[in-house]
Symmetry: C2
Subunit: 456 residues, 2 copies
């Protein structure tokens, strides 16, 4: 849709003209291609704090850092909203093949893994080439064994294989435990061949006592498969993470107050916590850099119609505790739209929407503003990132700015998620896309009403 | 040089015609492009044994595996020649930044590192952007400090930056210790951005007591540099390797007996040991696969004129103990030529020679046989790999088949040196080049006499 048709359409609908002309949006977008702030935030947080595991001292330090940074940038109502959550911390982790091919493998506990105790456990490997094979194993058939769940995963631009492959991590350990396994190894949910395990949260069924559950890097998983082809394999695992009871985490919030409080809040989110193995540059310091740099640019262009609220959520990784706490605290406020950047900082290539019919023209204006950045409209309903999903599920509009996932699962949840993985040029393209999007949404003259639940 | 001219030249020199026609060499070479044996050896050794640190139980297991394998392939005089050497084994390794930016860094002890003791050491970082900066530091200026030596290293096809960059590792720790340092960190001698340290041997000056010396992966080294830009950094290091006194290592030797013992031995080498962090697929299981597959192909084509001796050297990594033991034991035998494969298994692109004038025509035949594989003649005198350098330095001819080093220092001496880094197609190109070279040398009718020391 070109601008002339857009303006004609707006006039036909008896709407006021867009408060911010598309030419102004284009200028903001193009200026953002020289952005330094997203890098500054990403570099600062990853360097000065390092890893930021949920509900640890490091995450608390990160919150203080964030408040200082967001305040110094001129945002308003900067605050921490704390909440309680169960704390899990990594311990020792060792994996050894026993017998004639005795050798150590690299292993990393999954988040919420149980412990083998300091003496470790020994057992024969029960091998499942796929998660479905584990699901099909008879009850009791893993008694005394260490389950090893493999799977195949291909790097995809849209990240779509994380869902199906991730089942081995999210549900595999609990299912294996229920069938008698004494511990679980999974092939890392990842696409790289480096000796770095991909951690990530696993969930336990209600009455299931957690057992040790850990990920092997791909080279180690394939080594184990080669050994299994030669005959039975016995291993010893010593994995000693601890559940530390309840601790404190928190969300950091900052705002750009809008001129029309009745128009609803535009919520832009990222998460502040990281897994403990790395500094969480792509997951998700860069996301905080992107949404914040975009909000700052829109703020500096003049007061927007809608309040822009920045949410740097705490404790996303172990189970979206921050996102849930935010929703509980703010569900009665009017959110016009929510969006999150939590998929690295590689180039955005697609935009998906969940919009009410009243805001379809706004979607078209966004598509038009993003086109010069190489971004086209996708066909999926936007779901938001984990921390805003509850807000969107409850009926708010949403936009997903989809980054390329081709490299993402090489680094995701591994020790390799460090600053050097962020490409400053692609990071700026992200800021430009977010700046245009936030500028349009925050200033849209249309009402952005509730949306029916998107169809799956 | 084409075949007609070659034959004319041979006739003019009153030499017998080549025992193996160039067309036969070409057929052997091309058949080797379908080789499976090099992979089988590489896969078997790395899978069934795993890491093979010098003078450990794993290296002894590897020797037994090797004897079995070489015997089953039909080689003769398969044997182990043992030798004694000092044993060094890795201990705990932890590195923590202290203070307001408290965080752990990944670190790996260098071979022959001293120990901090189990309680570790704390000190301020003394930063040296290059090895030369450390060399220039005044005597005593590092008292109580942890030296951090950085450097820049670029991936090169000929691997030529390993020499200058490697000084930081080979000599840096001893120099820093002599100036008062309590421990040393170096930026890994490598070219990748993964959280895997590059180990490798360091040397201590005669009267220098070893201190703890360890490598930071590039992401960690650059993190430390970013922190140092913000102000002084204190760190705690706990690095506890141990010197275990003398232990036993050994060389594994196998032969293809030649028809003309007076013509001298063709020595083709690799090393059997690896560092302890990985399974040593490119350093150097694949080298053993390549030279052995080539020797097997030449053997199966009919008895060669010269004896081909395969050397799978022990204990190369901590200081070429196997190569030195071989030279001491065999220096009085006549070696016509020596060559080693110890630079991974990526495509060979260049061949360098150190030949007596009597064998220049043989060199030309080799160049001609390698040309279809995309290999051209280089201008450097061949030096052999570490394990055959003493033989070549003592006056034997040598040939270097130079693999591409563009990926090599991404994996070299890291946990990432695993089977998946070996490309089966490139591995076969290596076997083809070695097969042609060994076939020509072992059957060359010329005398291959002593060579003056190559000029630097």
């Amino acid at each position: 849709m070109n601008k002339r048709i857009l303006l004609a359409a707006a006039a036909a609908l008896a709407l006021p003209l867009p408060a911010l002309a598309q030419t102004d949006v284009a200028a903001l977008r193009d200026a953002a291609l020289k952005d330094d702030l997203a890098w500054e935030i990403t570099e600062g947080l990853t360097t000065e704090i390092g890893q930021r595991l949920a509900a640890t001292e490091a995450e608390a330090r990160a919150r203080d850092w964030s408040v200082k940074k967001l305040t110094s940038l001129g945002f308003r109502n900067v605050r921490i909203e704390t909440f309680k959550m169960p704390v899990w911390v990594r311990g020792e982790e060792k994996a050894e093949v026993l017998g004639g091919s005795a050798q150590k493998l690299v292993v990393g506990a999954l988040g919420n893994s149980g412990s083998t105790g300091p003496k470790g456990v020994e057992g024969e490997i029960a091998y499942f080439p796929t998660f479905a094979d584990l699901q099909a194993a008879p009850a009791g058939s893993l008694k005394g064994k260490i389950a090893f769940i493999s799977h195949a995963m291909t790097a995809t631009q849209d990240g779509s294989q994380y869902g199906p492959s991730g089942g081995a991590r999210r549900m595999g350990p609990s299912i294996a435990a229920s069938k008698g396994a004494i511990a679980v190894l999974i092939r890392s949910i990842g696409t790289d061949y480096h000796r770095n395990p991909h951690t990530g949260g696993t969930s336990w069924a209600k009455d299931q006592k957690p057992i040790a559950a850990a990920a092997l890097p791909l080279p180690d998983a394939e080594q184990l498969e080669r050994l299994l082809k030669r005959g039975p394999v016995r291993m010893k695992l010593t994995i000693t993470p601890e559940f530390k009871g309840d601790g404190e985490s928190g969300n950091v919030i900052a705002e750009v107050p809008g001129s029309d409080p009745a128009a609803g809040i535009v919520l832009v989110a990222c998460h502040l916590d990281s897994w403990d193995l790395a500094t969480g540059a792509i997951d998700d310091a860069s996301g905080c850099g992107i949404v914040t740099a975009a909000a700052k640019r829109v703020m500096d262009a003049g007061q927007p119609r809608r309040t822009i609220r920045i949410l740097w959520a705490g404790a996303e990784e172990p189970g979206v505790f921050g996102g849930r706490a935010y929703f509980e605290a703010h569900k009665n406020e009017s959110h016009a739209l929510a969006a999150e950047s939590d998929f690295g900082a590689d180039r955005i290539w697609r935009v998906d929407f969940k919009l009410p019919s009243s805001a379809m023209a706004m979607g078209d204006r966004i598509v038009s503003a993003l086109a010069p950045l190489g971004i086209t409209r996708g066909q999926q309903p936007a779901g938001g990132g984990a921390d805003v999903a509850a807000v969107i599920d409850a009926g708010s509009a949403g936009i997903d700015l989809q980054q390329s996932g081709l490299r993402y699962f090489d680094y995701h949840h591994t020790p390799d998620d460090t600053l050097d993985k962020v490409d400053p040029v692609q990071l700026r393209q992200n800021v430009a896309a977010w700046t245009a999007t936030v500028a349009i949404v925050a200033n849209a003259p249309e009402e952005i009403g509730r949306v029916e639940k998107a169809k799956p």
